[in-house]
Symmetry: C2
Subunit: 229 residues, 2 copies
Amino acid sequence: MKQFAVIGLGSFGRKVAITLGEKGAEVLAIDKNITKVEDIKDKVVHAVALDSTSLDELKSIGITDIDTVIIALGEQQEAAILTTVLLKNLGVGEVIARAMNSLYAQILRMVGADKVILIEEQMGEQLAKTLVAPQIIENVPLASGHLLVEIKPKKEFIGKKLSDLHLRSRYGVNIVAIQKKVEEINDEGEVTIRTKVNDLPGPDDKISDDETLLVVGSEEEIERLIKEG
Amino acid sequence: MKQFAVIGLGSFGRKVAITLGEKGAEVLAIDKNITKVEDIKDKVVHAVALDSTSLDELKSIGITDIDTVIIALGEQQEAAILTTVLLKNLGVGEVIARAMNSLYAQILRMVGADKVILIEEQMGEQLAKTLVAPQIIENVPLASGHLLVEIKPKKEFIGKKLSDLHLRSRYGVNIVAIQKKVEEINDEGEVTIRTKVNDLPGPDDKISDDETLLVVGSEEEIERLIKEG
Ligand SMILES: Nc1ncnc2c1ncn2[C@@H]1O[C@H](COP(=O)(O)OP(=O)(O)OP(=O)(O)O)[C@@H](O)[C@H]1O
Ligand SMILES: Nc1ncnc2c1ncn2[C@@H]1O[C@H](COP(=O)(O)OP(=O)(O)OP(=O)(O)O)[C@@H](O)[C@H]1O
């Protein structure tokens, strides 16, 4: 059973700790501010107030037994650097540190962080990608160059059989699923929208205008599919 | 040709603007600090220094013609609120605002933001998910409950044909692709690692221990596949 600790309960650290707890992981939430510790007590197994830049305080809670420590000190980068070194000296297996910018990312790696996270940069890139290709509802990088995307089919695709579209031979993309939003009435008599997924689409399946396609392909293939398809 | 503007060139806003520019979009980068504006001039089409809480200054750059404005003022939430109202009053189509926390998210929506983004919360959740399921190398929510995941195959799967594993009938998951990392020597004589993707796996394909499976299924199906598979 893997044990986690999160140091720093700002918006990011608190969310990491709570989500880990929700997924059933054993989490130790740490912050020097007792109020932050009190506020999270009902959502995680353990929560303790301590200063992570103090070797004695880290030792006192047996931090060496923790497999992965997430340092979520965004503003306090000096404390993040000190804490990284102390944790690695104490033999903690994996230290993941939030970096404020790429210079701090370099420093944190140099002093031993196994992974660094640049939150603002990563979210900025994710947002820009969703904005620039709105037909691409979901844009997921899979591995070197391959993406999974959810796209709204072009007018020319509507009503046609998948086999007539020749997506694989023409554009080199693989169709993973056809999705459709349907209105349903639940037990309380409320109208809800549910997404039906046909994730084994056959050659005779036709695409209607209220459906979207999930396809896998390289970035070039998908761009071509969207532009020319 | 869709036009974007980004107000606030902190780490997040700057990254949004630059990534939009890299993707070929027309971006107007805005910050009240002239140094931030100067630093981004070579990476975006337009960059201008102005105070986004000033109606006159917004009018002077014809912000009404912009389709989507991203307000990337993370700390300056009062300015974010004022700017949202001014932009909507000026008739800007879509205003996307970064919120510092859920209370500000509520306020920004109330005063007209079409979308709000909670960067720290979203990244916190993403990080926790990758940490809690390391066999799940990539964990992508597709639509209500369906995920695309990349998983390391269990020992029992290695060397078996896909048709013998009955993943679809036993676990209800659809295999999208089999991926393998291969070492290659590039033109400079350096050894590089490239990921080969077989994204039309056939029933007779076997899984080797250096390959990973990309599967689509509901959260429950995938959990069951990982636990019992
Ligand atoms: N040395 C330390 N030991 C333990 N906790 C600390 C230490 N220094 C700061 N903290 C705590 O870390 C938390 C995050 O601090 P920081 O100022 O880095 O926040 P932040 O990066 O702005 O947070 P977020 O962006 O996630 O909202 C605070 O709750 C603070 O009390
Ligand atoms: N009224 C305003 N008009 C234009 N730009 C502004 C205004 N107020 C602040 N800015 C600019 O917005 C940028 C981001 O400011 P803010 O203090 O909100 O940063 P931040 O949220 O901490 O950034 P990040 O987390 O992305 O690094 C700064 O460069 C600042 O000069």
